[in-house]
Amino acid sequence: MFIGMIAGAAVGAVLVLIGLFKLMWRVAEPNEALIISGSKHKMEGLEAGMGFRIVTGRGTLVLPGMQAVRKLSLDLNQTELSVDCVTHQGIPLKIRGVVIFKVGDDFVSIANAARRFLDQQKRVSERVHNVFAGHLRSIVGGLTVEDMIRDRDKLTGQTRAACGTEMEKLGLIVDSLQIHEIEDPTGYIKNLAMPHAAAVQRDARIAQAEANRLATEAEQQAAARMAEATRDSEILQAGYQAERDNAAAKAQQAGPLAEAAAKQEVVVQETRVAELVAARREQQLQTDVRKPADAKAYEKRTLAEAERDARISAAQAKAKETELAAAAEATATQVTGEAEAAARQAKGLAAAEATRAKGLAEAEGIKARAAALAENQEAVIAQQLAEQWPEIVQAGASAFGNVDNMVVLNGADGMADMFAKALTMGGTGLGLARQLLSSMNQNAVPAGGSAGVNGVPVEKVQVDRES
């Protein structure tokens, strides 16, 4: 029990000791410095009169309540700069840049910085900005735009010259000063660059044109060479193709040629066979057909000739016969004709005589009538009228022949009256005829003498005589 209590107390004591140690022991991190002030202490690394202790990179014992411990960051800081400046030439510029700085690692710098910034570490950037803003104006005022752009070394050198010692006072070191941007509201830099840009553009265009020309030349040459090569190749190919075609055609023809030659041989042989056959057949025909035919023809011809001769002889005989018969008939006909002619003549003569006798008789009659007429004209005429009465009445009636309908108004008496008048007209006609006759007789006295001699016309009798 006792031992346990002792052990517990010991453990407690150890724990208390550890706690106390934890309270008293402070360790500085690599990026910070411990500034320990208060009470008497060993002036570590610093001269006397500094009044505080600086510890970096290790632990140290601090008496709580007796000593104060503060930390100073040694980290990198950065400050953005934005400054309106005027250059040496009087050109206004707006410069944007950045300053990268830190507290120096040596104890002097740490002491300087600690004295100045320990309570306002957050505002270091602001301070530095103010310092740099002023200095940058003076630096830029001492430079030209061309220097700033081209000679960065000069800018950093000037910056170092102007700010380095001042920052040294603050215990700071400038790691880097960079100008990000130079804003140029007047367009000076642009104009500065313009001739060069134009020259560069010109050179670039020239170079490009030249390159294009060279490339085109090379391309055209290459194309020409290609075309040449293609042409040569095609010519060669065509030549080879021609040779191949030739050979192929020959090869193709070889078979048919041989075949044709063989066929030709066969045909020759066949032709000869056919010729032989034909010759044999001809011979056979000569013997089989022609000779018998000739014989038959000869026979027929001979027979025909014989028949013809016989018929000629027969015809001649017949002709002779006919001639003789015709002559005989002619003679007979002549004789007959003569006889008939004589008969007709005799008949004609007889008829003529008869006619003449009749005519004479008539003439005698007429003469007698004429004599009677001369003596008693009216009686004769009346007789003739009486003889001719029916014809006269007919002629008178013919005047009514063309009448379709005749209306006789007086009835039967009228009719008789009309006929009586017609007959009276006949009577008047009688008187007219008498006058006519008398006038005729007076005129026809000279003609009557000749008419009295040849009162009867002679009738000519034609007698056909056959020769």
């Binding site: 690394g45 610093l46 001269e47 120096g104 690692d105 040596d106 104890f107 002097v108 710098s109 300087n112 070394d153 950093t156 050198g157 170092r160 010259a161 380095g164 010692t165 040294e168 215990g171 070191i173």
Partner: protein
């Protein structure tokens, strides 16, 4: 601290900003386990030391100023 001051002198460094009369130069020196830059002035007034030259710290003025001369005469 004198020890620090003594340790700086004689160290080798490289010029990063031209050192010369009328210029504030810059050198970078290996110190305290790292490399820090210091404002640099020529130790002999007429020297001009171009960037990239190897230099030796001849004098150290705290907090951050050193006087240097070229390490090798060329």
């Amino acid at each position: 601290m004198t020890m620090d001051e003594a340790s700086m002198v004689g160290l080798m460094g490289r010029v990063t900003g031209a050192v010369g009369p009328g210029l504030v130069g810059e050198v970078i020196v290996r110190v305290r386990g790292g490399a820090e830059h210091f404002l640099a002035y020529p130790s002999s007034a007429k020297d001009r030391i171009e960037p990239g030259t190897l230099v030796m710290v001849m004098e150290y003025l705290p907090p951050r100023t050193v006087y240097v001369s070229a390490a090798y005469d060329s």
